[in-house]
């Protein structure tokens, strides 16, 4: 039951309706039952894994809280994290490590065979694993209070709008909301519905429409020329943005209809003027998580090395980010690319700031535009490796883009509708980025009419055949 399925559109309003009818003291159990039912309908066997992770998280949380000695607390936290990471390792990374060892030994002439695991990846495992780890670390750092109700911990990890693909929430932000759980306010219902509608537009009209062109080109690299591959490479970040940010908005909007305020995940990333600024706007909940639980402890441990300590921490952080996105060597290289780019920015930050201040470049529109275009092109290039499963494929794409030009492969319907929907999306983003007060006094009737138009546009021009979300594969 994904967000774009017909079942979800039927059941979701009913879930919201009953949430508001159920007495307050039973709402926690009601939402937990709803979340487990939705998860169980998709992957019944792995529901047990989710429950087991919740029990471990709850038990280790209570254990950390009851322990006085700081060193012992630290050991319990590490033990809990290792236990929580075990299923993620087994399901997602076991085969990757096996295959890496086999090919490494193969290079030096040793032939070995290691048993492989061919199980389906449990949905949302990367997300709820990170949320569990965040809770235990925050508890150890005394940044959150222990949660004594096991059902609250279970709901935190299984809350159906966010369990499958995030945003990656924090215990300190979610537990107070779980313990409050009042009836949905009319303003929450309206705001939630608006976010969901906009999310569906981004997913069905921008991402899925552009994907018809991008997939057609990328899945036939050998017969397409560099011009078509170049256009696909330029469109892919927009497709990804529509897919990932659209999914996040639907999730945040669905949670809002139940009165929950979920942390944002995207903030107009294509207006970033530097790679570091881009990563503060793109998949923000993951990057903030990585910053808090990987980058900061690493940078702290390496602080005596000053700038080089920061570089080391950045490289490790984005290596983890790459591996999180996929258990392939191309994802590892993608992560390292981001790490190198951010390290260069970090090492040159002071000189760049001084140069920009000296010539007042930050106030010049052409300088900002150049920065924005450069960041986009760099990201689009890195995604040729990020989205591919092999270097051979990525290198062939890059090679053709550079040296094999010719007439463009055109798919007029996808391109025209895709560009039109993208221009609506960018119009909204430009307004929010540069003219936040524009149209703020627009008449309510006009606003309602526009939302009805958006709804009709989705029905008429959206790709409504249940396309999969990119985030679900993580």
């Amino acid at each position: 039951m994904t967000f774009t399925s017909f079942k979800f559109l039927i059941f979701f309003p009913l879930i919201v309706l009953f949430f508001n009818l159920v007495p307050k003291k039973y709402r926690l159990y009601y939402l937990l039952a709803a979340s487990y039912t939705i998860y169980g309908l998709l992957q019944p066997a792995y529901l047990l894994l989710l429950i087991a992770s919740s029990i471990i998280t709850y038990s280790f949380g209570v254990w950390i809280d009851k322990t006085e000695d700081d060193e012992k607390k630290h050991k319990i936290m590490i033990g809990g994290i290792l236990l929580i990471l075990l299923p993620l390792f087994m399901f997602k990374y076991y085969n990757f490590i096996n295959e890496s060892i086999i090919s490494l030994l193969g290079y030096i002439g040793i032939s070995v065979s290691l048993p492989a695991i061919r199980w389906l990846l449990p949905l949302g495992i990367s997300y709820y694993t990170f949320m569990s780890i965040g809770y235990l670390v925050d508890l150890y750092n005394e940044e959150v209070e222990v949660e004594k109700n096991p059902c609250s911990v279970a709901l935190f990890l299984s809350f159906f709008p966010i369990v499958f693909s995030g945003p990656i929430e924090r215990a300190g932000h979610m537990f107070p909301q779980i313990s409050r759980m009042d009836r949905s306010k009319p303003s929450d219902l309206v705001a939630g519905a608006k976010m969901m509608l906009w999310g569906y537009f981004m997913k069905l009209c921008v991402a899925d429409r552009l994907s018809l062109y991008v997939n057609a080109v990328y899945s036939n690299v050998e017969i397409n020329n560099g011009s078509s591959l170049g256009l696909a490479a330029l469109l892919f970040p927009i497709q990804e943005y529509g897919d990932l940010a659209g999914y996040s908005l639907i999730a945040i909007g669905a949670a809002r209809c139940l009165g929950f305020h979920i942390i944002p995940n995207f903030r107009r990333p294509f207006f970033a003027k530097s790679i570091s600024s881009f990563w503060r706007r793109w998949h923000m909940s993951l990057i903030q998580w990585l910053t808090d639980y990987i980058y900061t402890p690493m940078a702290y441990a390496l602080r005596s090395k000053k700038s080089w300590g920061v570089v080391g921490a950045l490289m490790v952080t984005f290596l983890v980010s790459g591996i999180w996105h996929g258990a392939t060597m191309t994802c590892v290289v993608w992560g390292l690319m981001q790490g190198v780019l951010l390290s260069i920015e970090s090492l040159t930050l002071n000189k760049r700031t001084a140069f920009e201040t000296k010539y007042s470049l930050e106030k010049k529109w052409w300088y900002n535009l150049i920065c924005i275009v450069c960041v986009y092109l760099i990201f689009a290039f890195s995604e040729i490796y990020g989205m591919s499963s092999s270097f051979q494929n990525s290198n062939a794409i890059v090679n053709k883009i550079l040296f094999d030009h010719g007439p463009l492969f055109l798919h007029p319907t996808s391109l025209i509708l895709g560009f039109f929907a993208t221009s609506i999306l960018f119009f909204k983003d430009i307004r929010e980025e540069y003219f936040p007060k524009a149209f703020s006094n627009t008449n309510n009737y006009v606003k309602i009419t526009l939302y009805i138009c958006l709804f009709l546009y989705i029905l008429l021009f959206g790709v409504l055949d249940g396309g999969q979300f990119i985030y679900l594969q993580f």
């Binding site: 900061t296 940078a299 602080r303 920061v310």
Partner: protein, 79 residues
């Protein structure tokens, strides 16, 4: 250690690390008030502070420091 002495020693560190020669330290000053005070420069600043005052912070302690005033208090406790 006297608060005034701590501020005198902290000011050049902050100005150097955050590339702001006119930065004035106040108790209420936070990372949000200084342009170049991000996660990248924060650790460099803390390493300089530890070296200058001959002290060491645990990550847990460091995370609780939100303002310059809290940093000064922490230095007073340790130095």
């Amino acid at each position: 250690m006297d608060k005034k002495v701590i501020i005198e020693k902290l000011t050049p560190i902050f100005r150097e690390v955050f590339s702001d020669p006119n930065l004035v330290l106040t108790d209420e000053l936070t990372a949000n008030d200084v342009d170049n005070w991000g996660s990248l420069t924060h650790m460099t600043m803390m390493a300089e502070v530890e070296q200058t005052f001959g002290i060491a912070f645990k990550l847990k302690e460091l995370k609780k420091l939100n303002t310059v005033g809290e940093l000064i208090e922490a230095i007073q406790t340790k130095a």
